[in-house]
Amino acid sequence: MYRYDQYDQAIVDARVAEFKDQVARRLRGEITEDQFKPLRLMNGLYLQLHAYMLRVAIPYGTLSGTQMRMLAHIARKYDRDYGHFTTRQNIQYNWIKLEQFADLLDDLSKVEMHAFQTSGNCIRNISSDQFAGAAADEVADPRPYAELLRQWSTLHPEFSFLPRKFKIAVIASDTDRAAIQLHDIGLQLRRNDAGELGFRVYVGGGMGRTPVIGSVVRDWIPVGQFLSYSEAILRVYNRHGRRDNIYKARIKILVNELGVEEFTAQVEAEWAELAPLGLDAPQAEYDRIIAQFAPPAFDLAAPDTLDLSDPDFAVWVKQNVHAHKAPGYAIATISLKPKRGIPGDASSAQMDAVADLAEKYAHDEIRVTHSQNLVLAHVKKADLYALWQGLDAVGLATPNLDLVSDIIACPGMDYCTLANARSIPIAQKIAAKFEDLETQRDIGELKIKVSGCINGCGHHHAGHIGILGVDKKGEEAYQLLLGGSGAEDTTLAKILGPGFDEDGIVVAVEKLIGFYRGARSGPQERFLDTYRRLGPAPFKEAVYG
């Protein structure tokens, strides 16, 4: 994991001091709310329905046990004893007080954490693959490059008042676990025939009001120049992105209006200006950061076998454990989607428990996934049973990864001021219809994603089944979408037909799943595959016929 040096810590400390001063000036009435709002947003602080909401950055979703324990402490001391892990691999707290915020920032900075640029019209927290460093199919660990981007984008003087927010994701394998084609910039690390590393660069993907799959603007940029190339993309966007309409201000609209070819030409022209200016970090800096992500010293003698005699454990292993690149090790996913729970929520006790287990069994490293679950990436197979028991003791051993009850849901109108409808109760009602694990396993992989408004924080456009909350004359209503994917085969879900009320949408999902189970070609054909094979018509008939 990356550890701060004196420079990183000095910058964070200065930033904390700056925001404390801004808060103090706001509390004294020296600046207006209109002036303060962009400042607090750039420090992750929103005003939501019930209180201030704070979004703490978890760079590329990786954190240590010590950091997780601090997140638990924040929940206990400043909030109501829980936090919410988000689809951007961050954590949110729902009940923060502005007058306590300075102390909270001090606490976070003690463990090399902060909330900078988790909101606002700037470059947001960089996201990445939750299996980074552990997946067998990656060409290299993508996180050093995410860290280079984090540093480059932190307090960037030219790009802190962009037309709109800006999200970057980095992966290093052909399997896409970070939905890079649905980001403003998606970077895929690759290795060429000469053994060199470079990125394929996607630009202009995104969900929200106008969902778009990103376009490749460059098939290869050497790793040594990807920061200046990113600078060129951002400059074209900052100068020419639309500022007359907030719904058309994301870079995807600029790419679409210019056309990919013209947009790419403008980026290349800008890069020609920037490339000679020495903006890229030197190799020594790459080496310094890469060294900090060196894999842990794996025990080469670790047995590669597992005792699966406990049937409950065996079910969890089958569903939530993935192969690791090192023999004798495994990747364990901790589901934050327990029965009747709130997707992504964790209590302080659960966060503490995960911190303890990560220190004991997983080389002190935890990942947050965009599906609102947690991952322990380096677990000895010999320790998996003890880990599972420890997770089970705090209600974190639900064996439902990627199943129908592993639902993404944004906070929705239970918390969020932008929402048009509640998301969490829909997720809970659908999960309750399929509580029986055997049924879930029979249905197989099925990604249901629920958003409470068109902004799409619940990734409904990337759902095999997507649900979008809308406002219908003051009443909550829900649209049904089918066929989305945020993986390497990215597709955008499409609306199936007229919307429903709260109970109606649950019945509709039941009908879809019932139809699928009868229509699939075999047990291996996923819901999404059946939809792709048959098209929407029979699914529409099943729901509305």
Binding site: P38, L41, A249
Partner: protein, 164 residues
Amino acid sequence: MVDHQDQQAVAGAASPPLDDAPARLRFRSDAPFESPIAPLADFLAGGNFAAVRVDPGEDVRTLLPHLDRLKLVEIAFPKFRDGRGYSSARILREAGFEGEIRAAGDVLVDQLGFMRRVGFDSFAPNRPLDPAVVAATLARFPHVYMKAADGLAPVWALRHQAGA
């Protein structure tokens, strides 16, 4: 009504009208330049001006052939949320312009640090700034992560300088 929070980049509240005599803040040792400032179109039409004003939608690169006869480029900020002027200033510095670059209009004290980094060296905010807050703001950050137009060495240079 929905409060769009971070979506207010464009829909922000209207700014107050420009003050006739805005408070000036200048970080140059040469004498202030006091002749008329031409709108970009008038300057490009061939008028004999040594100072020009660039609005957010205007392409500052059209000035690049004329930098040697310019003493002042004033970059307008009608709304503090509109960040196009930051790129304009940095492009001028990258092209070697050493004259005065002034940020004028809805310029907030909390933006001064960023603005200094992209090359602004004078400010005409339409609301007066508290000198103590200005001083604290500009002294805030001991290090920077990335190069810009101010010549500061980014931390990656400090980390790997000879003998470090």
